[in-house]
């Protein structure tokens, strides 16, 4: 065992667009490191994947459930990371299984 993670609260009474701002701001460095790693790996598999995803996913994300789209926007807003990268991270189970 290396450590035990912290516990955070997400307030579901807030509008989805505000829920994750504070948390993702506090952990923006960890989030950037993780997403950069995901993007690097995707690049290794095929250098066309990341540009395709970054271009298409923000538009396609609008077809996902609106509350979750807003939550991902709040993560993007809090961390300063691109919305497309956040969407990629949230569909990476499917995306990388492919």
């Amino acid at each position: 065992v290396l450590s035990k993670p912290n516990t955070a609260k997400i307030n579901l009474d807030l509008p989805p667009i505000e829920r994750w701002i504070e948390l993702s701001r506090s952990y923006s460095n960890q989030l950037k490191a993780t997403i950069n790693n995901v993007i690097e790996l995707a690049d290794k598999i095929d250098s066309r994947i990341v540009p395709f995803v970054q271009e298409k996913l923000p538009k396609l994300a609008e077809t996902l459930p609106q509350d979750y789209v807003d939550e991902m926007k709040s993560i993007s807003s809090g961390s300063g990371l691109d919305f497309g990268d956040i969407v990629l991270f949230n569909v990476f189970y499917e995306a990388f299984s492919a």
């Binding site: 993670p5 009474d13 993702s24 993780t34 790996l41 459930p65 979750y68 499917e94």
Partner: protein, 262 residues
């Protein structure tokens, strides 16, 4: 991944899991580690989802991820997700989604929906069994009840349930489906491949670490389950964390894990 639901000897079940995460081509030969696994460890966090000042459900998650891989709704149910390696991916689901069919669910949002919408085990079970999914890689849902000693593996394809294994359906106490269910990343009805067999070591540990009540019922403690999940190869270089879920208390105890290069 390895997920286990087992009888606790007190009339309920304990739910535990190892989350293994890595990507093909992601091995870092310089440091002899899996780079995604290493990157995910610092971003692990437990999240209490709160409404009206009350925790609705708790998840073990990664910063930036709004979906659910491991979560509990106090006294009601808990859920863990294992990737399913056995089956060819449902590519058609992604293609249909890109072509405009947006009614199917993405995994993370589906599992989050279960916790947003369901207040009991039956609702969660029905939701997980019936929802249409955009799955590229089908999945195992491992579901446990906080009200009855029920643990269940739901083997999901994109549109259907292909198999269900439930505590109590198997008489041989050394097998999954007896007093516990144990799921790695291969279909329960098939043998796992020799190069990634975490099932048989897990089953052996469950037998050796279980206790036997006067009634003849087997059960295991939280510490025993932790030991099972700390035994190689169930603990391996891809293991990011181990979670022990107390469904009645609504608590997920999460441990960031590391397994050195052999």
């Amino acid at each position: 991944c390895t997920s286990i639901v087992a009888k606790d000897g007190k009339g309920g079940v304990i739910h535990a899991r190892n989350m293994d995460f890595g990507l093909f081509l992601g091995f870092d030969f310089k440091n002899m580690t899996w780079s995604l696994t290493e990157a995910l460890r610092p971003s692990l966090i437990n999240i209490d989802f709160v409404r009206d000042g009350q925790t609705q459900f708790t998840s073990a998650s990664f910063i930036g991820y709004v979906g659910i891989f491991t979560a509990v709704r106090q006294k009601k149910f808990s859920l863990t997700i294992n990737e399913r390696f056995d089956v060819d991916g449902g590519w058609v689901g992604i293609i249909e989604w890109l072509l405009g069919k947006h009614s199917a669910h993405w995994l993370g949002f589906l599992t989050r929906d279960v916790f947003e919408k369901c207040d009991n085990f039956k609702c969660a079970q029905d939701y997980l069994m019936q929802a249409e999914m955009t799955l590229v890689s089908p999945v195992y849902f491992v579901l446990a009840s906080g009200e009855d000693p029920i643990g269940q593996i739901i083997v999901r394809d994109r549109e259907d349930v292909s198999e269900v294994v439930t505590i109590g359906q198997e008489e041989d106490k050394s097998k999954s489906g007896s007093w516990f269910v144990l799921q790695t990343n291969y279909d329960p009805s098939n043998e796992p491949p020799f190069f990634d067999d975490r099932r048989h070591p897990g089953l052996k540990c469950m037998s050796e670490l279980s206790s036997n009540a006067a009634s003849g019922d087997n059960f295991i403690s939280k510490e025993g389950l932790f030991d099972v999940l700390s035994t190689k190869p169930n603990l391996n270089m891809l293991t990011v964390y181990t979670s022990l879920i107390d469904i009645k208390a609504g608590i997920i105890e999460t441990f960031v894990r590391e397994c050195p290069f052999p």
